[in-house]
Amino acid sequence: MQELVKRASELLADGSVARVLGWKAGDLPYNPEPAYFENEEQLRSFVYNGFCGANLSKYMIEASKLEGKTLVFLKPCDTYSFNQLMKEYRVDREKAWIIGVGCRGKLDIEAVKRSGIKGIESISEEDGELKIKTLYGDHSISYAEAMLERCHSCKGKEHRVYDELIGESEETNDSERFAGVTEIEAMSPEEKFAYFQKELSKCIRCNACRNVCPACSCRKCVFDSNKFDSAQKANTDSFEEKMFHIIRAFHVAGRCTDCGECSRVCPEGIPLHLFNRKFMKDIDELYGEFRAGEDAETKGPLTDFTFEDAEPGVVAERG
């Protein structure tokens, strides 16, 4: 982390960048927030730790409009989002100084709390274990167990776009990316329906999943506009939950980089990535493997086709 701060100070000092976009230490052991830093003094509160899960690439949309370059710290998976945004002309590569930071998996405070830990006073790490002091006694939980879902199906620790790299990464991928999707696919229609009905009934339509999503970068979402007579503010009927999540996933199909931010931020813990990954799995199976954000040029699968593409009837044929 000191290396990051040092390099940021250097670049600020020599005028290479006008500001730094990173994470600022929070007031609890686990709540750092995305923040801008404009001088060394401010950089004193810079932090980079396991709880810096936030993907900063979307902030670069606004940062691209500012004078001068913005130094942005991107984790390997964040660089996919940056590429995708670049492909869609939403960020300006010229305005970004990208330092690719190492990543050994990011932590999920909800995962910690799910294990029954409450009243957290401090969190420290020793040999792959998180030592957690709480008001109700000391606990420990393995780093891997406390990781975000997305890190267990990490797409790799290679940065796809950067100016320089700082820090080491560790492989965290220990599960099959589409396992969750496959599990649902194997259910009967009744089970599928019950599963999603239950998950989606929790949705409070806070739009956190949408607003955090680097692919949902529309200036005005269809669900906020009258273009389709589809403006919604609440799930007054259970249909609206489905409509919102299906269309959202559809709009980002072929563009979603699987950064997992939607699932990370959902206050109701809805596994939203299961929608996006369903499309990814279908795209991979039907149109050839595709990873949005691997580069900033390749045509997305929904703006492309081949003459031999599967017919929609394939859905029924697959059973």
Binding site: E190, F196, D237
Partner: protein, 147 residues
Amino acid sequence: MSITAKTEFKPKIVAFCCNWCSYAGADLAGSSRLSYPADVKIIRVPCSCRVNPMFVLRAFEKGADGVILCGCHPGDCHYSTGNYYTRRRMTLLFSMLDYIGVEQGRTRVEWVSAAEGVKFSTTMNEFVEKIHSLGENVRLGDLRCRN
């Protein structure tokens, strides 16, 4: 059709037809007096690629029991490539609907040329029959539209 006599259920079926092939195919079915159930109502669109997944969901929201899209055969699109996009979009959409537990048979895409009046009528007969077998759409609709 005899199937309407089988039950009281009168399905609502929306058929999006592209102007150049399928709508003309439906016209030909008409002028050839090839009947299909009156439950099917056709909406004319310039090309099947004009059909937004939101239209499909909208139909279900408002109480449709089945939605079918018809377009030119791949390779014959009036706009040369439109139906190729339709094919990918609808494949993914239908797959997602299946994934969340909506019955597969409620959605369908069929390529019908301007010369295929018979195919149009057969397709619609089949589709209506399928919807009859599935019954009323209860999984994907807004209850407020049902009273």
